[in-house]
């Protein structure tokens, strides 16, 4: 158990590596726990996350209104109402559907762009910049850009392109149920794919070159190198990207709020917008809190189940 680091071992390090010495935390100064350093964060975290979480849970069991005056305790009535509310289910379904529709292209396109950019050795900074740049724009800018320049029926860029290839323009990209959700997905992909691209690119650059060299000596072609080295080495990143993407997609709100307002006929309204409508235009903060807690439970399940699945996969792969 000797350390191989060239640097002189720090006291903490020594304690951790010295065999048989029980750690007597009692005698530690509390700075050694780092508590003092994380205290500011913890205070903010408690004030702006833990406390609102708990107070929201409390509110979800009252008939509290937006002005915080005159709520009564109603127990689980709000939850019962939410479970029986068809709008909760339809907007939850819209959220899930958007997540399914957006996660697949966001992961695949991100991977594709990263592979491309990794292969293209010329002007690499330009590819990186141009694919990541949209991600830096605020949601309002992106959504207005698409809603008012690309998707307007008849004179938007999308229709003009159709007309250019001889197809019939005049499609209601955002106003017809068939297209509205797809248009929002397309906007989201353009806007946020840069983030996944960056994660993949970093992972690609971390793959040891000697693996490829060895494969080449064994006569593996480009396709085989991709299939047997690159993709397996990216498995972990893919797991991470998928989880982050699913969580991000579930939280869809801005794009729908700005581009379609949840329409046409509420076919694109996500659950968060329903929470917003109930709480901020219907003034029912108690009910809105209950609906958001149902959604919170769903997000929690997703974020807990996914790592368990990937761990199991990793264990199986290790056998």
């Amino acid at each position: 158990m000797t350390t191989t680091t060239a640097a002189p071992p720090s006291p903490v390090n020594k304690r951790a590596t010295a065999p048989g010495r029980p750690v007597r935390s009692v005698h530690r100064k509390w700075t050694e726990h780092g508590l003092v350093f994380v205290a500011p964060f913890l205070v903010v975290y408690a004030m702006f996350l833990i406390w609102p979480l708990l107070s929201g849970l409390g509110m979800s069991m009252t008939s509290e209104n937006i002005t915080g005056t005159g709520g009564e305790f109603v127990g689980l009535d709000n939850y019962a109402e939410a479970v029986a509310d068809p709008d909760v289910w339809s907007s939850l379904w819209n959220t899930v559907w958007f997540t399914v529709l957006s996660t697949v292209p966001l992961v695949l396109v991100g991977l594709g762009l990263a592979l491309l950019s990794h292969q293209l050795r010329v002007v690499q900074w330009l590819w990186r910049l141009s694919w990541f740049a949209p991600f830096l724009l605020p949601s309002g800018v992106v959504c207005l850009l698409f809603a008012q320049m690309i998707f307007p029926s008849g004179f938007g860029l999308a229709d003009q392109m159709l007309a250019a290839v001889g197809l019939e323009p005049g499609i209601g990209w955002l106003s017809e149920e068939r297209y509205a959700m797809l248009s929002i997905v397309a906007t989201t992909v353009w806007w946020t794919v840069g983030f996944n691209f960056l994660l993949y690119l970093a992972a690609l650059q971390a793959i040891p070159v000697h693996l490829y060299e060895a494969a080449e000596l064994d006569g593996a072609g480009a396709w085989n190198r991709l299939w047997h080295i690159t993709l397996p080495m990216l498995r972990r990143t893919t797991g991470l990207v998928v989880v982050l993407q699913v969580l991000a997609s579930l939280k869809i709100f801005d794009q729908v709020y700005i581009m379609t307002g949840g329409g046409p006929d509420e076919s694109t309204r996500p659950i968060l917008q329903y929470v917003y409508q109930q709480g901020f235009t219907g003034y029912r903060i108690g009910y809105a809190s209950a609906v958001s807690y149902i959604f919170f439970a769903l997000i929690l399940i997703v974020s807990l189940v996914q790592p368990m699945l990937s761990r199991r996969r990793a264990e199986e792969a290790a056998k």
Partner: protein
């Protein structure tokens, strides 16, 4: 005022992330009171309103004139975004008891705005001293400002749904007489007028907003025609469903028929509907009177009139802008008097306000020659007598749940995604849900 799509979309309710939404809202730390700009000997008067676009310019001009005449008052006006967010802010300010001295509210929303708790009553004697009395207003809308014997709202105007017409096209289609649109009476006659216009241009004769985020026009269209059948959406007290299936279905089928026959543009969001009429190839446009400024700016030949009576009796969907006194824990004294003074002054000078298309509620102004000279604004002043306000319910009125939800349902009738019968069933289901939901903001006075 009225939603201009562009301006409404501009401001986001800040991406409410999952956590913010999940957590509802923790206790907000009190905002520090802004330092007052009032100089020595000046009374501070804060006024919140929701007038954007041309209305905003008009209101700004009126407020500047008031400032010039009242050097003893330091008037701080805040223009907030029209729509649901405005009411959220106003409600929260009133709940905190530290609201502005004066604000604007849509009259049909009064019932849902906790009069007595979020709003303070007007001092009628004080108003009378300033020349504003009950008999100066149409009885119906004055009384809508009353709850439990107190006056919580004083109407400024009514803003009805009107018919805009392109004068040159209507002339070509033979629909004009003596420089004005010929009288149109009955549903079939209106459809004929649209057909005649279509013959001239080859385009649908009518354009109006049929879809889009939070689109309200389909509801306005339905409410206008349905009120003409004599039907009521809710009972007098706003507590029960009173929708008459036969009458409502007749109206919905008529709306669907116009779209199916190609007499009106099937798919247009708010901006597009204004843009298409501005393009000058469409004879008619149905909208609130507030777009007058847009059409004046582009200079197309147009005029305006009350919506023709298609179903028996005159009636048009409308709401009114009204003044309210948001609840202050210590309302009274000089600031409260200044608020009353501003209300009276704006009412007496509402000719300037009428330029933006609204019909003044203050009757002496309606007789003012300066108002009567306003063309086409004074052409539809009769609408003030046929104002069909929503029944008093917490979920009714401008930018309310009812408007937004039913707007979405009736939008489907115009675009063809819903059958009239299906829309009626859906509308009734939604109204029932709203009726079954207890008022989240019960007022002390209601």
């Amino acid at each position: 005022m009225h939603p201009h799509r562009l301006s409404r979309r501009r401001a986001l309710a800040g991406g409410i992330g999952a956590l913010a939404a999940t957590a509802a809202l923790g206790p907000l730390s009190g905002c520090a009171a802004p330092s007052t700009a009032a100089g020595p000997g000046q009374t501070r008067l804060r006024f919140w309103h929701l007038f954007g676009g041309g209305d905003g310019v008009n209101m700004q001009g009126m407020l500047d004139a008031f400032r010039a005449e009242h050097p003893d008052v330091s008037l701080e006006a805040a223009t907030l975004q029209w729509g649901a967010p405005y009411y959220t802010k106003l409600g929260m300010a009133g709940a905190g008891g530290r609201a502005p001295e004066l604000a604007v509210l849509h009259l049909a929303r009064l019932a849902g705005f906790a009069p007595g708790r979020l709003l303070d009553p007007f001092d009628l004697d004080l108003l009378a001293d300033l020349g504003v009395r009950e008999q100066d207003f149409p009885a119906g809308i004055w009384q809508r400002g009353q709850v439990a014997g107190e006056q919580y709202a004083v109407p400024l105007d009514t803003h009805p749904f009107v018919l805009y017409y392109q004068t040159e096209l209507c002339e070509k289609a033979g629909l004009m007489a003596g420089g004005k649109l010929k009288r149109i009476e009955g549903a079939e006659e209106f459809a004929d007028a649209l057909r005649a216009a279509k013959k001239v241009t080859g385009q649908p004769g009518l354009v109006t907003e049929t879809l889009g985020p939070d689109c309200i026009t389909p509801w306005r269209l339905f409410a206008t025609f349905y009120s003409q059948t004599g039907g009521k959406v809710l009972s007098e007290d706003g507590k029960r469903l009173a929708l008459d299936d036969t009458k409502a279905l007749r109206v919905l089928e008529y709306m669907a028929g116009l779209a199916e026959e190609g007499l009106m543009v099937r798919r247009a969001d708010y901006g597009a509907s204004v843009g298409i009429f501005n393009g000058g190839k469409t004879a008619f446009h149905l909208n609130g009177e507030w777009e007058i400024s847009s059409f004046r700016t582009t200079g197309i030949p147009f005029s305006m009139t009350t919506v023709p009576t298609l179903f028996g009796r005159p009636g048009t969907q409308a709401d009114c802008h009204a003044f309210v006194l948001p609840h202050q824990a210590d309302r009274g004294g000089a600031t409260n008097e200044a608020a009353h003074e501003l209300v009276a002054w704006l009412l007496r000078n509402s000719v300037a306000w009428a330029e933006g298309g609204h019909v003044p509620a203050y009757l002496p102004v309606l007789k003012d020659p300066a108002y009567l000279e306003l063309k086409p604004q004074s052409e539809y002043r009769g609408a003030i007598d046929d104002v069909a306000l929503d029944e008093p319910a917490w979920f009714a009125g401008s930018a309310s749940r009812m408007w937004i939800e039913l707007g979405a349902v009736f939008s489907g009738v115009l675009t063809g995604s819903r059958s009239p019968r299906g829309a009626l069933t859906e509308a009734k289901a939604r109204l029932r849900t709203l009726l079954d939901t207890p008022d989240p903001l019960p007022g002390a006075a209601s």
